[in-house]
Amino acid sequence: MTSAQKHISTDTRKPEAVLEDIWKTYTMGAEKVHALAGVSLVFERGSFWAILGTSGSGKSTLLNLLGCLDRPTSGRYLLRGNDISFMDDDALSEIRLRNIGFIFQSFNLIQQSTVEENIELPLYYQGIDAAESRNRARKLATMVGLEERLNHRPMELSGGQQQRVAIARSLANDPGLLLADEPTGNLDSQTSAEIMRLLCKLNDQGKTIIMVTHEPDIAAFAHKRLYMKDGAIERLEG
């Protein structure tokens, strides 16, 4: 039994993520800035969310909190029923490692590593042995259609291909929750559509997806759309 399994229950009746009156406050000089001002939300399992808003609306802060990269100043964050609001850095790392997959706008692949090594990265930190990791990485690469590119470096791939590697990597630990920060921001419209179709397919397979975007046509792929303004929920669609 790993430490993560101690923290996270596998109770399937619980929602994926629950936010209860979340505040995130930064002190800038003498002034206090509320990046999030009392956000309460329930993300059901298998739902597909798009978070929209102008820059500074708090959507990135919200995503970082959901991704356990940051802790709220106050409020409660329950991931599958487990309060992780005040866990220490190691525990949060463990949750990211086991339960969450990240997809970024700029792909964030390790440039000096091959496609295969990038996909294997979460498995490496889980301590899974090399043969098993390679096996899983190949399956995932095949799933995203990059089985021919396993030994290429990210630089040698197109933007769309790089994002598919990033998606394969985010799936390596088989997380329940996928977080995507402007996943199509660096891609042309045709490639964007391909990536969105891939995300929809993953959502159909039961993954909860929360995506930050500012493009309405990308947001249209999601089932629910959350509009943020000044750190608070402006409105909810769907």
Binding site: L69, D90, S93, E94, I95, N108, Q112, P122, Y125
Partner: protein, 422 residues
């Protein structure tokens, strides 16, 4: 094993270092030269001091050597007129030393005469040492042929001589050695044995024996050659009366050597009006040589420490630059779920791989240079295993010490900020 536990991390570290081959090798140079020079310097120093210590040990560490010396004021008058200088150790001194000191086990008197040795047409200048059988126990040299002097030879005034290997070669050449009769001065002596001699060329210390020695019984030497020696030089003749040229005393225990030497010195002062002798204690020289060696090691250690410090700072500098350069990578790893500890280990292993590889290359160079010195300059060098093991330990240690700060800095980066880093 730590090695197998971190095998993947080590592989990853090597791979990352290989991405920047030039940078990594330049960084390693500090360690290479540091460790290389330390081992090479220690090897040269060790070789030199071993040579010195060996030479002192040949004198015998339990021995006290008293040598006759012409007093300084008499040396000045040497050429003015024909006169007799009387100085040196007396036959009585032997009794005084052997009976007056409980700690003295054996006393060997030595009378030295320079004479020409002859065998047929072969001629050789020799240093004839009139002594007792105990000489061969105090100045231990391997016996090559025959036997050494015995009590019987002394009691019966036998005209026998023990040659050194060198003397035997020069004088006897290919003829059978033992049993030959050679002429020393104007008298005939039978060769009864051959011993090896120490070739004390170089080094400041004179061992009691020389290559041109011929050993005869003391009383035979006294009877044959007398106590008075006439030395002719341009325009003047000097006559000297010396009973004994050297007395070697063996002390029972190393701990008593210096106190006994002091006792002998004060005793001789009473009986000798002039200071016509010197006392040398090989053990004191040995101690001195050892303390010189210690000082030398401290100096070397400091130089080594400084050069390794510089090497370590070089590594730290590069690792800090590397952390800044790889901020984004660190952010990615942290976002994916790497713990702080894992980031620390990753960077620490890189520095340790770097410094240890540098250390290993340094060790190779540090072994090669002394070998080169020994081969080319014929200087003795000794690469001690301890210096190699220590260097390896130090180089890994430096990797850990100087890698820790950059690694901790890498691990303490906020993943959100690190991910935004361009």
């Amino acid at each position: 094993m730590i090695f197998t536990k971190y095998l993947r991390e080590i592989k990853l570290g090597i791979k990352n270092l290989m991405q920047h081959k030039l940078r990594s090798s330049l960084t390693m140079l500090g360690m290479v030269f540091g460790i290389g020079s330390v081992i090479a310097m220690l090897a040269v120093g060790e070789g030199a001091s071993k040579q010195a210590l060996d030479e002192i040990r040949k004198l015998g560490s339990n021995n006290i050597i008293i040598t006759a010396q012409k007093p300084a004021d008499e040396q000045n008058q040497q050429n003015t007129r024909i006169r007799m200088s009387i100085y040196g150790l007396l036959y009585e001194d032997v009794q005084r030393v052997s009976q007056g000191f409980l700690n003295v086990l054996k006393v060997v008197p030595v009378k030295i005469v320079r004479k020409e040795a002859r065998l047929g047409e072969r001629v050789m200048d020799m240093r004839i040492l009139g002594t007792t059988p105990d000489w061969f126990e105090l100045v231990r040299r391997p016996l090559i042929a025959g036997r050494t002097l015995s009590r019987y030879d002394l009691e019966n005034f036998c005209n026998v001589v023990v040659l050194t290997e060198h003397g035997a070669r020069r004088l006897l050449a290919t003829r059978s050695t033992v049993g030959q009769t050679i002429k020393l001065g104007s008298d005939y002596f039978e060769v009864i044995g051959v011993v090896r001699s120490e070739n004390s060329q170089g080094g400041g210390l004179q061992s009691p024996d020389q290559q041109i020695d011929a050993y005869v019984p003391l009383n035979v030497a006294k009877a044959t050659f007398g106590d008075v020696f006439t030395m002719s030089s341009a325009g003047s003749r000097t006559r000297e009366l010396v009973e004994l040229h050297q007395i070697i005393a063996e002390v029972d225990d190393t701990a008593n050597v210096e106190s006994t030497a002091a006792g002998i010195e004060s005793m001789l002062k009473i009986f000798h009006k002039k200071k016509d002798y010197t006392i040398s204690v090989p053990l004191a020289l040995l101690r001195q040589a050892e303390s010189t060696k210690r000082t030398f090691n401290i100096v070397l250690g400091s130089i080594a420490g400084i050069s390794l410090l510089v090497g370590g700072i070089g590594i730290m500098n590069i690792m800090l630059a590397s952390v800044t350069e790889r901020t984004r990578e660190i952010g990615i790893r942290r976002a994916i779920g790497a713990k702080r500890r894992q980031i620390i280990i990753q960077f620490l292993i890189e520095t340790v791989v770097l410094s240890t590889t540098g250390g290993l290359i340094g060790i190779a160079i540090g072994i090669f240079i002394p070998w080169l010195i020994t081969t080319m300059a014929k200087m003795p060098t000794v690469v001690t295993p301890s210096s190699v093991i220590l260097s390896l330990g130090i180089s890994s240690g430096i990797g850990i010490i100087f890698g820790l700060y950059p690694a901790i800095r890498a691990a303490s980066l906020d993943p959100i900020i690190a991910l935004r880093h361009e």
